[in-house]
C-alpha cells in the first residue's frame, strides 16, 4: 500500500521506526543514535558496507564505534550474588513474615521525602503555598471597614449641618468624596461604585434641631455587600449619636442627654472586633486541612498515573506499611507548615495568642494526621490526579467551611448539617484553635475536643487500609 503510494503517486514517505524489518523496507534509511546520524544509505548498502549479515548487526557495529560505554562492563560478576549472606538472609526472611515491618514502611517514607525534596514545584507549594493563602485571605477578606467612601447631600447648608458632615468625615472609618448634587447624582455614583453610602441632611435640619423637634438624617447604603453595609450603618449611627449628644449638651447643658443613647454593646474576647483576630484561628485549620490532604492524595495517585504503584502491588509491602510510609513525610511537612502559619499570624497579622501553645500544637499534630489520612482515603478510590484534586478539595473544604463552625457555630446547625458538623474532625480543631488563640484556654479546658480527633485517626487509617487495592483491577 505504502509502496503504491510512493511508486504510483510519487508521494515522499518519511518513516521513523525502531524495528529493523520495518526499516529494511525503505529505499534509504538513516541510522540514528543520540541525535546523530551514524550512516545513511539503502539498507542493503549499509549491511554491505559494514560487512555484517543483517541490518541489526550492521547497526550494532555502527553503535559500537560511537559508544564508549560499549562493552567495558562485561564481567560475569553476578556469580558473587549467589553466595548469600546467611545472617542477612534470615533477617530478610523474618521481615517478610511480619505483617508490619518498620523497615519497609520507612523505605517508603525515605523515598517520598527524597522525591518531595527534588520536586521544586511540589515542595514550594507544600511549604509556602499555605502561607501565601493565609496572607491573601487575611488581607483580602478583611471584614473590618476602614476608608469607606461616601458623599453627602446637604440640603440644609447651615453651620450645624456642616458641623455634622465635618464630624463624620473626621472618622477614620470614612473617606469623604465630593458632595452630591441631587438624587440622580447619588444614584449614578453609587452604581459606579464610587461611593458606598450617602448621607442626606434634610432641609430645615438646623432649625428643627434648634427648636427641639425630632431630627432625622437619611443614610443610603449600597446593599450589595450586606455585611459591609450593616457595619457601615452601625458606625454611622454611632457617629451621629455622639454628635447629637454633644449638640444637645451644647444647647441644654451637660447631663441633659437622653440616657437611652448610652446603650452600647461590648464584645468579649476580641475587644476591637477586628476580624483578622477572628479569622486566623479559623483559617489555620482550613489550610492545614486542605493542603496536606491534597499533597498526600496526589503522592499516591501520581504513582498510579506514572505506574510505579506496581512496586507496591508486587513487593511484600503491606497496605499499612505503604499508607503510613506515605503519610509520615507529609505529617512532618504539615507541621512545618503549621509553624509557618502560626508565625505569620502572630508576627505579620499581630493576632494575639492567649491560651496554651502546647495544647494547640498537640491538636495540630493530631489534625494534620487526620487531614493527610483523609488524603490517603481519597487516593484509594481515585485514579487520576485531576479527579483526586477535585475530590479532595470538595470533601475537605465544603464540610469544613459549612459545618465546622467557621461561619456559623455548629450548635446553630440543624439536621444533616449538624450531624456532619458533629462528626467532622475540623469542628473540634476549630474549637481548640479558637479556644487557645482568643479564649486563653489550655489542655485541661479543651480535653473533650481532643477525643474526637484521637478517634478519627485510626478510623481513617482502617478505612484506607480496607479500601486500598493491593492489585490492579
Amino acid at each position: 500500500m505504502l509502496i503504491a503510494l510512493s511508486r504510483n503517486d510519487n508521494v515522499t514517505i518519511f518513516v521513523s521506526t525502531h524495528f529493523m524489518n520495518e526499516a529494511a523496507r525503505c529505499d534509504r534509511i538513516s541510522l540514528m543514535h543520540a541525535g546523530r546520524v551514524l550512516a545513511s544509505d539503502s539498507p542493503a548498502a549499509i549491511i554491505e558496507a559494514s560487512g555484517k549479515a543483517t541490518l541489526e548487526e550492521a547497526f550494532i557495529s555502527h553503535l559500537e564505534a560511537v559508544t564508549d560505554e560499549a562493552r567495558e562492563a562485561e564481567e560475569p560478576a553476578i556469580a558473587e550474588n549467589a553466595e548469600k549472606d546467611d545472617a542477612d538472609g534470615r533477617a530478610a526472611e523474618r521481615a517478610l513474615k511480619h505483617r508490619f515491618d518498620f523497615r519497609r514502611m520507612m523505605a517508603y517514607s525515605w523515598r517520598e521525602a527524597l522525591e518531595l525534596r527534588r520536586d521544586p514545584i511540589r515542595a514550594t507549594m507544600a511549604i509556602i503555598g499555605s502561607v501565601i493563602l493565609l496572607l491573601v485571605i487575611g488581607y483580602g477578606i478583611n471584614l473590618d471597614i476602614e476608608n469607606l467612601s461616601y458623599a453627602t447631600l446637604d440640603r440644609d447648608q447651615t453651620v450645624t449641618s456642616r458641623d455634622l458632615t465635618l464630624d463624620i468625615s473626621g472618622s477614620r472609618y470614612f473617606d469623604e468624596k465630593a458632595p452630591l448634587l441631587d438624587y440622580a447624582d447619588m444614584d449614578r455614583r453609587m452604581r459606579d461604585g464610587e461611593i458606598s453610602f450617602a448621607i442626606e441632611i434634610p432641609p430645615h435640619f438646623a432649625a428643627d434641631l434648634a427648636r427641639g423637634r425630632d431630627v432625622e438624617i437619611g443614610v443610603w447604603l449600597d446593599g450589595s455587600m450586606p455585611q459591609r453595609a450593616s457595619s457601615a450603618r452601625g458606625y454611622i449611627q454611632g457617629v451621629y449619636a455622639t454628635w447629637l449628644t454633644r449638640k444637645i449638651e451644647e444647647v441644654y447643658g451637660a447631663g441633659a442627654a437622653d440616657p437611652a443613647y448610652s446603650v452600647a454593646a461590648r464584645y468579649r474576647y476580641n475587644p476591637d472586633i477586628r476580624s483578622l483576630v477572628a479569622m486566623a484561628p479559623a483559617v489555620i485549620p482550613l489550610l492545614l486541612l486542605l493542603i496536606p490532604a491534597i499533597l498526600t492524595t496526589l503522592s499516591v495517585v501520581r504513582e498510579k498515573e506514572l505506574g510505579s504503584i506496581v512496586n507496591f502491588y508486587v513487593t511484600p509491602t503491606t497496605r499499612l506499611e505503604f499508607l503510613i510510609g506515605k503519610q509520615l513525610p507529609y505529617i512532618v511537612l504539615a507541621m512545618f507548615n503549621f509553624a509557618l502559619l502560626l508565625a505569620t499570624s502572630l508576627m505579620v497579622f499581630q493576632v494575639p495568642f492567649t491560651g496554651s501553645m502546647l495544647a494547640f500544637s498537640l491538636a495540630a499534630l493530631l489534625f494534620v494526621t487526620i487531614s493527610t489520612g483523609m488524603g490517603l482515603l481519597v487516593s484509594t478510590f481515585t485514579s487520576s490526579q485531576i479527579a483526586a484534586l477535585f475530590a479532595t478539595a470538595l470533601l475537605t473544604l465544603i464540610p469544613a467551611i459549612q459545618y465546622s463552625g467557621l461561619i456559623d457555630p455548629v450548635s446553630a446547625l440543624q439536621g444533616f448539617g449538624a450531624m456532619i458538623g458533629e462528626v467532622y474532625p475540623a469542628t473540634y480543631f476549630v474549637t481548640i484553635s479558637r479556644g487557645t488563640f482568643t479564649k486563653a484556654l489550655g489542655l485541661a479546658d479543651l480535653h473533650a475536643a481532643f477525643v474526637p480527633l484521637l478517634i478519627a485517626i485510626p478510623v481513617l487509617t482502617i478505612a484506607s487500609t480496607l479500601l486500598l487495592g493491593k492489585q490492579a483491577r
Partner: protein, 440 residues
Amino acid sequence: MNVADEQGGAGAVARLEGVSLLYRKTAALNDISLDIPAGCMAGLIGPDGVGKSSLLSLIAGARKVQTGAVSVLGGDISDDGHRRAVCPRIAYMPQGLGRNLYATLSVYENIDFFGRLFGHAHAERRRRIETLMKSTGLLPFADRPAGKLSGGMKQKLGLCCALIHDPDLLVLDEPTTGVDPLSRRQFWSLIDDIRASRPGMSVIVATAYMEEAARFDWLAAMNDGNVLATGSPAELLSATATDNLDDAFVALLPEATGRDRPALDITPRAEGDAGDFAIEAEHLSKRFGDFTAVDDVSFRIRRGEIFGFLGSNGCGKTTTMKMLTGLLDVSDGTAKLFGQPVDPGNLDVRRRVGYMSQAFSLYTELTVRQNLSLHARLYRLPAETIGPRVAEMIARFDLADVADSLPDALPLGIRQRLSLAVAMIHGPDILILDETDLRR
C-alpha cells in the same frame, strides 16, 4: 519447600486455566489455558495490544484475576496468603521504559529502595547494589537521576531493581522495546549471565521483536487475547513450514485477520529525477537548554522515495521530523521542503504534508466516514471535492466494509489503514509516519 515439589511433574512455573480478562467491555484475554515451563526462557510473542502485558501482570500478581485460575510457583496467585508468600520470589518489570522507577531518584537510590522493601540490611544492600551496578555497567552513573538515563540504561536499572532480591521467577514485559540494538544485545547477554549464575531461575518475557524471540527456549504466540500456538522456536517454524518467526507468526494467524501484509519485495525506484528533492536537511541541530537532541544532521530525500529513520526512543527521530515540518524551530542549520525553507507560518507547505503518529489522531466518537470528512474539512478541501475524495480514500484503503463503524470497534490493522487514509485525505506530497509500526 523444594523447587521440584512445587512445580509438580509438569515443571510449569505458571499455569493458567480458562483465564479471561475484561477492561470495561473490551476483552484483553479470552479463555486462555497455558502451562509456562519452569527453569527456562519463556517468551510471549505478538504485536502490541494482543494481551501479553495483561497476562504477565496476572502472573506477577499485579492484577486481579477475574475469571479462571492462575497458579504461580505452586499456588493460587489470587490467594492473598500465597501471594504474600511468593512475591519475594518474583520480580516484575512492567512495560514502558523505566515505568516502575523513580525519575528524581538516582540510580543507587532506586535500587536501594527496592532493597529496603525486601528487608536487606544496609551493608548487604550496599554490597548487592555495587555488584549489580558493576555487572550492568551502571556503576559510573550511580548518582545520575533515573529520569536522565538513556532508554537502554533505564532498562538495565529496572533489571537491577528486579534482581536485588534474588528472584526465582523473573517477569519482563517488553524489556527492550524502544531500546537501541546495542543496548538490547547487552541486555540479553546480561540476562544470559544471570541465568548462568542462577540456573534454576525461570524467566518469562513478552516481546514484539521476533528476532529476539528466536533465542528463547519456549514461545507462546498470542493474538487478540488468544494463544495461537506454543512450543520451542524450532517447533513453531517446522509446524508452519517457515524459516523465520515473523513469517511463522503470520502463518499462525487465523485466515480472516492478517494476511494482507504488504509484500517485502520493493520495486526499484525509477532513478533519473535526481536533483528533485522533497526534503533537505543541512547541518540541522536542536538544543533544549544544554541538552542536544539533534546534532548536525544532514540528509536529502528525493521525491517519491521511502526514507526511514532507524533508532531507539529518544535518539532524536521525532524532533528531526518536527523541525522538518515546522512544528519546532531549528537551533542551527536549515531545513527545506520542496526547495523552500521551512516556515512555520506557511500553511501551503503544511498542506503538502500528511502526518501519522503512534497515537492515531482519530476521533473515536465519529465513524470511519465521518473521520475522513472531518479531516478533509480541517485541511480546507473545497466543499464539492470532499465527498468524492472521501469515497476515493475509502475505496483505496479498502474501508468500504467498515465505513460506518466507530474506529474503536475495529482491529488494530484496519485502524492503521484508516489513520493512513486520514493522513492522505488532502493528497499530500510528503507522508510522515512516526513510529506507526506498519509491519503487519
